[in-house]
């Protein structure tokens, strides 16, 4: 079924390393490392290392050509060798296109949610509509935005803006309804006005929902920024680099960009999750964590 490896030492060595790391993980779990935060991190990191080792061993052992799957060591060397290029693409796509679109789209959604929340009629109408639009393949508007706003980062920001708007809107509207009637009554007994109730009770109560939307939006933002570059971009940017590198079969460069995208995506999500922990420390899902 699987052909014998060309370079047996690498193949079997990697397989042995995989088994050893898996054994280590089983041992760690048995020893109760899953109960602490560093323990959990160590277990998942060991799995990541095991995958990399297996990958490297398979590529070297079976001499897989670089145009199909480059080894992790080759990808790492490419990243080291082209840092300025990767940085330029990162700034163009993630910072200019992704982050600015994310900021505009999310703040527009928050403001819209607070505004339509005043009218129950609009809320009832916009919620099903927003839920439906949130499920649509909005990424398809990328070519339209490119014709409207040109090849620069503005069109990417516009796509991101449209992609993140509805998930954040729907979640915020749901969140604004989360404060309990009892709590609202209490605010009224203190003769708090609309604004005070909003700022002191309802917005804080809505935060778990809002952050849920914001976290979903982080991934969407990166997808939108990269896809929009497939429809036209200046001669830099991650989507541009990926499509041209694939065209010339420079797979290590593609993987280097993927590594950057993965790191950026994870970091972006991690930062939002971190802010969430600070803001919604009172919520049951955040309490009792190490």
């Amino acid at each position: 079924m699987i052909p014998a490896p060309v370079d047996g030492a690498w193949a079997w060595g990697a397989a042995a390393a995989w088994v050893a790391l898996w054994g280590l993980n089983v041992g760690l779990v048995r020893a109760g490392a899953g109960a602490t935060r560093p323990g959990r991190a160590a277990i998942s990191a060991a799995f990541g290392v095991a995958v990399l080792v297996l990958w490297e061993g398979a590529v070297r052992g079976w001499q897989i050509p670089e145009v199909i799957l480059p080894a992790p060591s080759v990808i790492a060397a490419t990243i080291r060798g082209s840092l300025p290029l990767l940085w330029g693409d990162f700034v163009q796509t993630i910072v200019k296109g992704g982050l600015s679109g994310y900021a505009i789209g999310c703040s527009a959604a928050l403001v819209t949610a607070v505004l339509i929340d005043r009218s129950p009629f609009l809320t009832r109408g916009l919620l099903p509509f927003g839920n439906f639009v949130a499920a649509l393949p909005i990424v398809g508007i990328a070519p339209i935005m490119v014709t409207w706003f040109g090849f620069g980062w503005q069109s990417k920001a516009a796509v991101v803006c449209a992609m993140v708007f509805f998930p954040v809107l729907v979640n915020t509207v749901a969140g604004l309804a989360a404060a309990e009637p009892m709590q609202r009554d209490l605010m009224r007994t203190w003769s708090a006005g609309y604004l005070q109730t909003l700022l002191r009770l309802r917005l804080p109560a809505a935060m778990p929902f809002v952050f849920n939307g914001l976290k979903i939006a982080t991934t969407l933002a990166l997808i939108g920024a990269i896809v929009a570059e497939f429809f036209g971009s200046p001669t830099r940017g991650m989507g541009f680099r990926i499509s041209t590198a694939v065209g010339s079969l420079a797979l290590p460069m593609v993987w280097a960009q993927i590594a950057v995208a993965a790191a950026a995506g994870t970091a972006f999500y991690g930062i939002v999750a971190l802010i969430e922990r600070q803001v919604t420390f009172w919520h049951p899902s955040q309490r009792g964590r190490g």
Binding site: S44, I68, P137, P143, T219, I258, T266
Partner: protein
Amino acid sequence: MRAALPVLAVLAAVVVLWYLGAVWLNAQWTIDQAARAGRTVTFWEIVADAMGQRRPLLPPPHQVGAALWEGIAGQPVTSKRSLVYHAVVTVEATFAGFLLGTAIGILLAVGIVYSRVLDLTVMPWAIISQTIPIVALAPMIVVVSNRIGIGDWLGVENRLVSKTIIAAYLSFFPVLVSMVKGLRSPDAMQVDLLATYNATGWQGFWKLRLPASAPYFFASLKVAVAAALVGAIVGELPTGAVDGLGARMLVASQFGQPLLMWAALFAAAAVAGVLILAVAAVERVAGRRMGVRP
């Protein structure tokens, strides 16, 4: 019924805003044309013109509707100009990816629920996998799956394989998360009851955990099918594909045919709606079989 009126009002507002936007965005072209011809135009001429340009910046709803109708009913469904043809190509990949992704999601969820080791090793990486913008991987998946020739081996088109992989990648995660939650939803009391019945682990899974996870499962399926469609469309973009709704959008954008582009976009939206409704229908039927009372 209570929700119908507000939703209709919102839809009407969207259409009105859309018309206003069409006039606003398309006016510049009319004004430029008139300036080139040395004429001036009145406001009403601009409005009239904005409703029927051949290459508008923002086509008004009725033009999109006409293009959509032309693409669906005006062609034989086997024609390459028919949106039905392209939709079928995309839906094929969506279904294949949806089935594959759902299967992977369920298998992983069962593994995670029954093995603490899998839970601690795989779950964090499953979460990280979703923060990676899959579209960065899409062109490479396309090239590599063409090169390895998985499609020839399976007896299908290579393009279908790459789109399927991307759709499966996007759709496995919601199923995984919901199934883990669903399989863990029976409380200790119920698990204890099965233990007093001397039920085996297999019976516990089959008669308690799996039925208990059904509501979570169907809720995630709706998300997964929408995600699979996005995956299939994105998978068509960087591939040089000529068939499928995503390819249709790309080609129309490159050849400056905004009406075709908008028609393909709305066709994709309609397909998403139909798929979600289909899953909801399956959910209702399955729920009735399992004795859910409305």
